[in-house]
């Protein structure tokens, strides 16, 4: 069966009336929650995970597909209308998008952002359809060495490019790994770091931590930010049409941004943020409207928004084919899958193709729904921004708490969510990114299992990690990355220091 046949079957499963309604609900809720200032795509998914409880797994996947794309678009709406970036990836959209809004072109900016997001999402999904099954097929031959080396490379790269100092991100990764060791050791059956508590015996659930450090921490952050006055401009449907010139300037930027996002999304780390900044820099240098940058150049919206969505989509390729989340958004999607007993990776592609292709089809449906539903309702979304956060956040907090309970039907999990909410709020408040912690928590047990199994199989010889071509390549790349980072740090240090000793006065 070809990928196309499988995709058609996936559509037959995903495009039922129930699932189409679910996709619409996912897109609407994802957009609305993604518009809440400060949430971003990760926080949005964390908040909305509870609405999928009790649903059929495929319907839940369809909802997640809608939420994923809706959340990304919701962030850009807030950036354009309010000049408030929901996350790092929306910062450059604020610059040009808000400037366009002030010139009365908010509608054009919103529609070009939606078009770019749609095109980039579709391109990413085509690449996913073409390559994810192939990669998953290769991954079936992977042993513990390969998984250890891929996970290690992901953590090393993540430590280096997560937007904060290498010490900070490395520390967050290690703290995540530490949290992952709590519970019963899978190899020896020994209890570790449980403090003799039943709550910690099964380890700390990845999903509870995600709900805490994203969902709960965002609620606390917003609560402590006070009563931000929101004044969103009104946007009518007729304002959404870009002029012919705006459209002709946007299309090349959308193409360039999509390709940039597609490539950067395959690299572990905050691919959305990196790709948007890269796209912005390229548009500022090469686009036709480069003279207008800073005062509302439409290329500065079209390129970065396409890059962001392209990265968000292509980061699903390693998630679905290898089961490895390379950034926080993918980790959040993963937690949604795990709640419904779906473990992404080569086994999903090969043993449950119905779910895999159903998910791919649901992502395509979610992307189309985004365009069909969001643009006509953009005026409504803009008016929703006027609801005071003082009303919304208490309700969101209760939804997060209820959702945390329903994950395992365990009241103890609520205490963990509150504790991780506090930790996430303090860490973010002190300037730490919690994404490396989440990825470390997920990849830590994989690294431990892969390394220990490799050592037992090879009788303690570290050479086994380099004896297979793929694991050797991954390990070599990780070593090279560390050396380059150290070299850059030394160069930067010595560049600051005076080359010639200053004579004493």
């Amino acid at each position: 069966m070809t990928s196309l046949d499988a995709l058609i079957q996936g559509f037959q499963l995903a495009a039922t009336p129930t699932n189409l309604v679910a996709a619409g609900i996912g897109v609407l809720l994802g957009t609305f929650a993604g518009m809440l200032p400060g949430l971003g795509i990760s926080g949005t998914i964390a908040l909305l995970i509870p609405i999928s409880f009790g649903l059929d797994p495929l319907t839940a996947l369809v909802i997640f597909g809608g939420i994923y794309y809706g959340a990304a678009y919701g962030g850009s709406t807030t950036s354009i209308l309010l000049n408030v970036p929901g996350e790092g990836a929306s910062v450059v959209t604020c610059v040009e998008g808000y400037a366009m809004a002030r010139r009365g072109r908010a509608g054009a900016a919103l529609s070009v952002a939606a078009l770019g997001s749609f095109f980039a999402g579709m391109l990413g999904l085509v690449v996913l359809v073409l390559f994810a099954p192939t990669i998953a097929g290769w991954a079936l031959a992977f042993g513990p060495q390969e998984y250890f080396c891929i996970a290690l490379l992901a953590l090393v790269v993540l430590s280096g490019i997560s937007g904060q100092s290498m010490v900070q991100s490395g520390l967050m990764v290690v703290v995540g790994i530490m949290l992952g060791t709590i519970g019963i050791d899978p190899m020896s059956g020994v209890e570790r770091f449980t403090l003799s508590s039943d709550i910690l015996l099964d380890g700390i659930s990845f999903i509870i931590v995600v709900m805490g450090v994203y969902g709960m921490a965002e609620v606390l952050q917003t609560a402590s930010d006070g009563d931000a006055a929101v004044s969103a401009p009104r946007v009518a449907f007729r304002d959404l049409y870009p002029t012919r010139e705006e459209l002709s300037r946007s299309l090349p930027a959308i193409g360039r941004g999509s390709l940039i996002g597609l490539l950067i999304g395959l690299v572990p780390g905050p691919s959305g943020t990196i790709s948007t900044f890269l796209s912005y820099a390229i548009e500022k240098r090469f686009s036709r409207g480069r003279d207008q940058f800073g005062s509302g150049a439409i290329e500065g919206v079209a390129g970065p928004e396409s890059a962001n969505n392209g990265a968000d989509t292509s980061t699903l390729i390693p998630l679905l084919s290898l089961g490895l989340p390379f950034n926080a958004g993918a980790a959040l999607m993963l937690s949604g899958f795990l709640i419904h007993g779906i473990t992404p990776g080569p086994n999903l592609v090969n043993t449950r193709p119905d779910l895999f292709w159903g998910l791919v089809a649901s992502l395509l449906i979610g992307n189309v729904m985004l365009l069909v539903i969001n643009l006509p309702f953009v005026g409504l979304f803009a008016s929703l921004l006027r609801i005071p956060l003082g009303i919304l956040m208490p309700l969101v907090a209760i939804v997060v708490m209820s959702g945390t309970y329903f994950i395992n039907n365990n009241l103890s999990d609520l205490w963990l969510a509150v504790a991780f909410g506090l930790a996430g709020w303090l860490l973010k408040g002190a300037g730490y990114s919690v994404a490396p912690l989440i990825i470390g928590l997920f990849l830590g047990p994989l690294i431990e299992k892969g390394f220990l199994q490799s050592m037992v199989l090879a009788d303690g010889s570290l050479l086994v990690l380099m004896s297979r071509p793929f694991s050797g390549l991954m390990l070599g790349t990780a070593a090279l990355f560390i050396l380059v980072r150290i070299g850059l740090a030394l160069r930067s240090h010595f560049a600051r220091a005076p080359l010639v000793p200053v004579p004493p006065r």
Partner: protein, 153 residues
């Protein structure tokens, strides 16, 4: 969110407290990890990764603490204008966690929602606040117990 001038707390103090807490946590973890057997390279035991992670964590946490102390960067810390409101949220949510099993879903959710709305001061007038808390509690009770058929505490 855009960084603005914050007056509620000292940014450096926040950074220092978090850096010290991270160092203390890593040191405690390493101390506990030393209680597990490392094993050998050919037969690694339960303490293998925890000891390595503990050592790396302590070194990084110490480096981080020194970085915070030396940089005294007051621009990248931000706990918001009203951290006391976030703490009040935390207390209410902890109370919710404690009372959910005893009171049941609907009464506990109503109480917690009402308390959170009062703390966040998003509503005008007590009647509207009580009305919203009641409507929201009943709404999510209907969603979880009837529409999604989930077992409630």
């Amino acid at each position: 969110m855009q960084k603005t001038d914050r007056s509620g707390q000292s940014p450096f103090l926040v950074q220092l407290v978090v850096a010290v807490a991270l160092f203390a946590g890593c040191a405690l973890y390493l101390y506990a990890a030393l209680g597990f057997s490392f094993g050998t390279w050919s037969n690694p035991r339960a303490g293998f990764l925890p000891r390595i992670a503990g050592c790396v964590g302590v070194v990084l946490a110490l480096g981080n603490l020194l970085r915070v102390w030396r940089a005294r960067d007051t621009t990248s810390a931000d706990l918001g204008l009203q951290p006391s409101r976030a703490l009040a949220f935390l207390v209410i949510l902890a109370g919710y966690a404690a009372l959910l099993g005893r009171l049941g879903f609907l009464p506990a959710t109503f109480g917690a929602t009402l308390a959170l709305l009062m703390v966040s001061r998003g509503m005008r007038g007590p009647a509207v606040t009580v009305g919203l808390a009641a409507a929201f509690s009943f709404g999510i009770w209907l969603l979880f117990s009837r529409a999604l058929d989930l077992p409630l505490p």
